[in-house]
């Protein structure tokens, strides 16, 4: 019996591909966000409102991750933006190699903002760097205000929190102050936006921030 020392990171292959994605995106001056949430928090609706609002302001492309079906990609197709669907066929998260392949379908010289909609899951996507500039976590009021404490990993690794479905606050047992406070306890540097995709509340502020971040430091 002999011992062989290995000392290698389990996700080194993913991390290396994520680095390649990041440098490819940087080279083209593309700002990329990785949008994560539990299923049904409203990622796709938020994306639709965002695309509506950014139409004519910013060249956006979308990568849609889904376990099954291309329903979300069909919803996005209406907005006339380049979109690629990744069906993970059971996989609970996107990995850097899938995004790497998807990027090959775009004319990167024509894109300023890339929105990657991850698979609905608050655990698994947190381990997989895709090469994005930052993660945006969406938490909806219907999920309750304790979500950040139950899934600290995702809130810790995200830069922006979008509290969605604020129009439903009168009907659900959720305090937006508690939700916000819980998230900031996990990660005090989170930037927080409150939105409703039904009424459109908060969408302009979120989109203005996106435009500002995308064009920051560029002419």
């Amino acid at each position: 019996m002999s011992v062989i020392t290995i000392e290698r990171k389990v996700l080194e292959k993913n991390d290396e591909l994520a680095r390649q994605n990041r440098s490819l995106l940087d080279r083209h001056g593309i700002f990329a966000i990785n949008v994560v949430s539990s299923p049904g928090a409203g990622k796709t609706s938020l994306l639709e409102r965002t695309l509506e609002h950014l139409a004519g302001r910013l060249a956006v492309a979308v990568i849609e991750g889904d376990v099954q079906t291309d329903f979300d990609a069909q919803r996005i197709a209406r907005y006339n933006v380049p979109a690629v669907q990744i069906v993970t066929a059971g996989g609970c998260h996107l990995e850097a190699n899938l995004v790497h392949d998807a990027l090959g379908n775009f004319d990167l010289s024509k894109i300023r903002l890339l929105i990657i909609e991850n698979v609905g899951n608050l655990v698994c996507p947190s381990n997989y760097d895709l090469g994005e500039a930052m993660k945006v976590v969406v938490a909806s009021t219907t999920e309750g205000d304790d979500k950040p404490l139950k899934y600290p990993g995702m809130f810790r690794n995200s830069s922006v929190l979008i509290i969605n479905k604020i129009d439903l606050l009168p009907y659900v047992n959720c305090s937006i102050e508690t939700l916000r406070a819980n998230a900031l306890r996990i990660n005090p540097s989170l930037i927080v936006y409150e939105t409703s995709c039904t009424t459109g509340a908060g969408i302009p502020a979120w989109c203005d921030w996106l435009v500002e971040r995308t064009t920051a430091g560029k002419t």
Partner: protein, 105 residues
Amino acid sequence: MHELSIAQSIVDIVLQHLPKEEGVTVRSVRLRLGAMAGVVPDSLEFCFGAITEGTPLEGALLEIDTDIEPTLFVCSACGGTSLTVLSGREMQVRDIEVEENEGVR
């Protein structure tokens, strides 16, 4: 269930380190999991067992060195939560124990 793809990554790495000659079996794989790695050890062991069938790692013991994640990290001096993560997210294959089967050498 990202434990399945993590188990696959572990197997891929181990296979790259096996001696070239045939008849080598892996007895154990030692893995370091940080407190915030976000991996369930039981699930990972289950997936590792399933995925190693028919490979030189079949029957190998997955030794996971880990500690459990506290919900919230708070500075013991000031109570602040504005912390920088220095370690705890690591997920690393440390070493493996291998055995050369009789009659092959």
